[in-house]
Amino acid sequence: MASSTHEFATDKIGWPRGRWLRWRHRVPASFGVAAVLVLVAIGAAWLAPYNPYQEHVTLRDALQPPSLHHWLGTDQLGRDVFSRILFGGRVSLGLGIFAVSIAASLGSASGLFGGYRGGWWDHALMRVVDALQAFPTLILAIGITAVIGTGVVGVTVAIGVVTIPIFARLARARVLQVRTLDYVEAAHAVGASGVRTMARCILPNVAGPLIVQASVSLSFAILIEAGLSFLGLGVQPPTPSWGNMINEGKEFLEQAPWLVFAPGGMIFVTVMTFNFLGDAMRDRLDRAGPA
């Protein structure tokens, strides 16, 4: 209990301070890892040593343990696991980023508008958000894939729908905080339109927490995609995604555990990176003080 009160107050949920990774280094460090993950996903076609769809169904090629030729071994159809992980990352990350971007834009815009305008739009919006948040996430996502169907489109819509409410709620709450501040009043006084006030005055001042939330939601989206694909309701084989690779690999858990633990490790590293990035950005925003 030797630390000062100031330290207690500022270091809420974050990482305990230490020499080895100071808090001011955490944002660039986790951002760097996240950037590498995204770049590897983009460059999968150039980086993958083998064609991820190429099957070699001979006893010699299937279920090979990790070796110099196949860094992470081969699967039951003789496909190179490392190449499939790179391409799977493209699907898992790409889908997550796309779904979260759409959800963040729609959710933030509606929350911004609701918080700024108030009235029936705000009431209706909040009731819809309440209804959407009344479902446990995965159950809602499963219900949506039941309606839309499995595959990339179903998963993207499912992630989008379960992610929109948090952005709408967050944007609305922040707008309610800044709506009555002097600079918004000033914008009204000089005759700025509602849209201009929202876009030029309010949005830049509420964007920080939304960006933090985007990072956390991305890790969440990757977990949902992996979960749905693992259950066979998400991205369908032969297109590789980390979740469906684990689903296919679990049948061979005893003979070829790398089929499960290699993609599982990638999901873990990616989710942890984006959680860490979100945490670090939130701490930095907290220290910088409110907008």
């Binding site: 209990m1 949920i13 305990p16 809602l140 858990l253 599982g264 999901i267």
Partner: protein, 315 residues
Amino acid sequence: MLRYVAARLAAMVLVMLLVSACVFVLMRVLPGDPVVAMVGMMDVSASTLAGMRHSLGLDRPLPVQFVVWLGNVAHGNLGVSIRSREPVTGVLLSHVPVTLELAALSLAVAVMVAIPFAMLAVRHHGRWLDRMLTAGSLVGVSFPGFVLALGLIYLMSLRLRWLPPTGYVSPVDDLADNLKLMIMPTLTLGLTSAGLLTRLLRGQLLEEISHGYVRTARAKGATERAIMVSHVLRNALVPFTTVLGNEAGVLLSGAVITETIFALPGVGRLAVENVLNRDLPVIQGVVLWSALLYLSINLAVDLIYGVLDPRVRYG
């Protein structure tokens, strides 16, 4: 207090109505005719199909169908499963005990890990033990449950041969076998929740410990143990209970993936099997059940606030 409960219940009914409307509309916009799905591969004439549609009320206008459906739901009648032809309410209730047992055991593990770990981390704040525990809890939050589950099966069943990998035995039939089969699913869910709860509680404890009342208690000569347990922990438990309630809601509505991996016949597995079979009345039932449970637990949590923290006033 009563007024607050009444207002919350009214709001809950409104949200449940919206939820029901969402579920109803979603299920009706689906491509495909439910009557055709019911008869399956059988060769049935168009007039028989029309007769079935009429007897099920599917030829009436949508708003009328919704009101009739809502009335049935309010009476606990969720329809009949397309595949098994059994009443959905009965099917759902037969899967609830498994989910209930799993949720109770997992929450117990989560709380038993989270509270001592968070208190240890705060006691050693900023030192290596705190760092290890915080890193461990971040790993817990980021670790996908299904990878942990498969890791446990690989280690405990396939390598060490200590536990049977999957299956379910009712505790009424054989309690020892039941508990043996529940160890891995419970650890999977409990440890994942424990990560989140430890992180949250550590943060709350650190915030509480910086308040003036702790200094006052110390000045009055209270022991560190008494301060931590009866002052700091009690205050920090308020937000902790919210997240615990949320976790309980998620677990009780069906730990979908864990139940599927360990072949436990719970509500979550029921949902997945019926999505794959496109048995919509059952999915509808599971989704409604989840929403109702989730909202009820959130209300219960809000009411528990007052017990944990008498300063909380319901207005």
